[in-house]
């Protein structure tokens, strides 16, 4: 496969763009592998890539039941940030953000990572105090964070609703400048291409239908493309984790599947340079502008449990109301599309990258709202876990037993109700 370079772009420009080849192979499923990753989403592909790159394992297969980029990898709002403060989450998301910063170069694929800044609006002096505590924690642990006064916010984003009689008047903002957005499809393609180049076999349209166990050990997976023998297995199938877990005969998980919607408007001229977050009084809303000009909106989950990859209308209304309340100039902009993805909502709002009751099965699950930004970090830590058979010290508490130990990692302080961890 050819490396992308200024020269290859120039040469293909001269030769009618006929020199481009498929970016990854379409191999047949082999009889056995050293590591099989179930789930060809961002987390699965990133895991395979770092297994090959950092740990020198080459006999790897990634099994994807649909096609690459067809699940949540293509259903998110593309926001990348690391403003988490709980121990474990802090280190995890900061590492992930650092990987993002070098990702295009590392993958030789432009993932269009744009560190445009992430601006969370604050609506009372108390909210500024609370945000200062969180953002100071970030600064003390090697990240960047700022609090913007109202004047500074007005200088940067002059067209928000600053009316003093707004239902929630704006007092300031908490800002992470290194945060931003990336092009989600490019990340999928970039990881797939880079993993494939290092020998990883990506098998699409290959659904796992059964798990064969012997003495607490997985020996074989039955798939829609035949059986495959395995030495180690990683599950990275957010949304459907519980189903696969049950297939492996392991019972229940502290996870519920919920539906999260995203929206895009018709394209407009450049209007918003940052990622903007509005969350007060029950509202939960975030917005950014894509390179095509469409405003990408995200809101709450649909509240009820669901495996349907489609959203419902009350959230469309909520999101539209939030958009108008902070940026009234959007009044005549039309929504083009909305779509839904199934997410693993965990009992404390944090993820799982851990060993399991079976000695050669590893779990990557429970990403709640935050799977996209986490994907490089997730692949990095999960490959480290699979290769070394022990969790990295940063993520020792991201296991399934943390509830038993009373060590919940509840960033929001919302308690054991999955729908509240937005």
């Amino acid at each position: 496969m050819t490396r992308f370079s200024a020269w290859s772009v120039f040469w293909n420009g001269l030769t009618n763009q006929m020199g481009w080849k498929p970016q990854w192979r379409t191999p047949e499923l082999k009889a056995d592998y050293d590591v099989v990753i179930v789930g060809g989403g961002l987390h699965g592909l990133a895991t395979a890539y770092y297994l090959a790159k950092n740990h020198g394992i080459s006999k790897i297969a990634v099994l994807e039941k649909g096609w690459l980029g067809g699940g949540n990898a293509g259903r998110n709002t593309t926001i990348v940030r690391s403003n988490y403060v709980m121990p474990g989450n802090r280190e995890f998301y900061e590492r992930s953000l650092k990987l993002w910063e070098n990702l295009s170069f590392d993958l030789n694929y432009n993932v269009m990572f744009s560190q445009r800044g992430h601006v969370t609006l604050l609506h009372s002096p108390e909210a500024i105090d609370a945000a200062a505590r969180r953002y100071n924690t970030m600064r003390l642990t090697g990240s960047d964070a700022e609090i913007w006064s109202l004047e500074e916010l007005k200088r940067n984003i002059p067209h928000l609703n600053y009316a003093a009689d707004a239902r929630f008047p704006i007092f300031g903002a908490a800002v992470q400048r290194r945060a931003g957005t990336a092009r989600h499809d490019a990340v999928v393609w970039g990881y797939a291409r880079a993993a494939d180049k290092r020998g990883v076999e990506i098998i699409q349209n290959c659904e796992v239908l059964g798990v064969t166990r012997e003495n607490g050990h997985i020996t074989r997976l039955e798939t829609s493309r035949g059986n495959v023998g395995v030495k180690k297995v990683g599950f990275a199938v957010a949304g459907n984790t519980s189903l696969l877990w049950e297939m492996a005969g392991l019972g229940t998980l502290p996870i519920e599947s919920h539906i999260l919607q995203a929206f895009v408007t018709e394209p407009v001229k450049p209007l918003l340079d940052q990622v903007l977050v509005f969350g007060v009084g029950g509202a939960n809303f975030y917005m950014s502008q894509s390179d095509k000009g469409g405003l990408v909106f995200g809101g709450d989950i649909d509240w009820y449990k669901s495996y349907a990859q489609r959203g419902n209308l009350p959230i469309v209304q909520d999101v539209a109301e939030c958009a108008l309340s902070i940026m009234p100039c959007l009044g005549r902009v039309r929504l083009l599309r909305h779509w839904g993805g199934v997410v693993d909502m965990s009992m404390d709002g944090s993820h799982f990258i851990c060993k399991t009751p079976l000695d050669n099965l590893y779990l990557n699950a429970g990403w709640n709202y935050g799977g996209f930004k986490a994907s490089p970090g997730s692949g990095w830590y999960f490959s480290d876990l699979i290769a070394n058979d022990r969790p990295h010290s940063d993520i020792v508490n991201h296991d399934l037993k943390r509830f038993e130990r009373g060590h919940t990692i509840d960033e929001r302080g919302a308690g054991p109700d999955p729908k509240l961890h937005g």
Binding site: S242, T252, P254, W303, K305, P314, M347, K419
Partner: protein, 94 residues
């Protein structure tokens, strides 16, 4: 919009209701082993298909309901009052 036939008010939009959660959970006795409590509070069946769940008709009669709903199609199969006492009153009326 999901339409939920409330046994007290008739069929209404789901936006009138607040979603409670998994209706199949039974909490153990206060002195039950920790493991039982751990399972009741944290472990979920996460059914792909028809499950029992609780909804609160918060912008209507304010009754808690047990609803059987399909988590793939969102189809509602059965709705009944969540408490026996209320259920009895309802049955006495009809």
């Amino acid at each position: 919009m999901i339409r939920i036939p409330c046994p007290f008010c008739g069929e209404r939009d789901h936006s009138e209701f607040h979603y409670g959660g998994d209706g199949s959970i039974t909490y153990p006795a206060l002195d039950a082993p920790t493991e039982d409590w751990l399972n009741a509070v944290y472990q979920r069946k996460n059914i792909r298909g028809v499950q029992i769940e609780t909804w609160h008709h918060v912008n209507g009669c304010r009754m808690w309901l047990l609803v059987e709903r399909d988590t793939i199609t969102h189809e509602i199969h059965l709705v009944r009052a969540a408490h026996d006492g209320v259920d009895g009153v309802l049955k006495g009326r009809t």
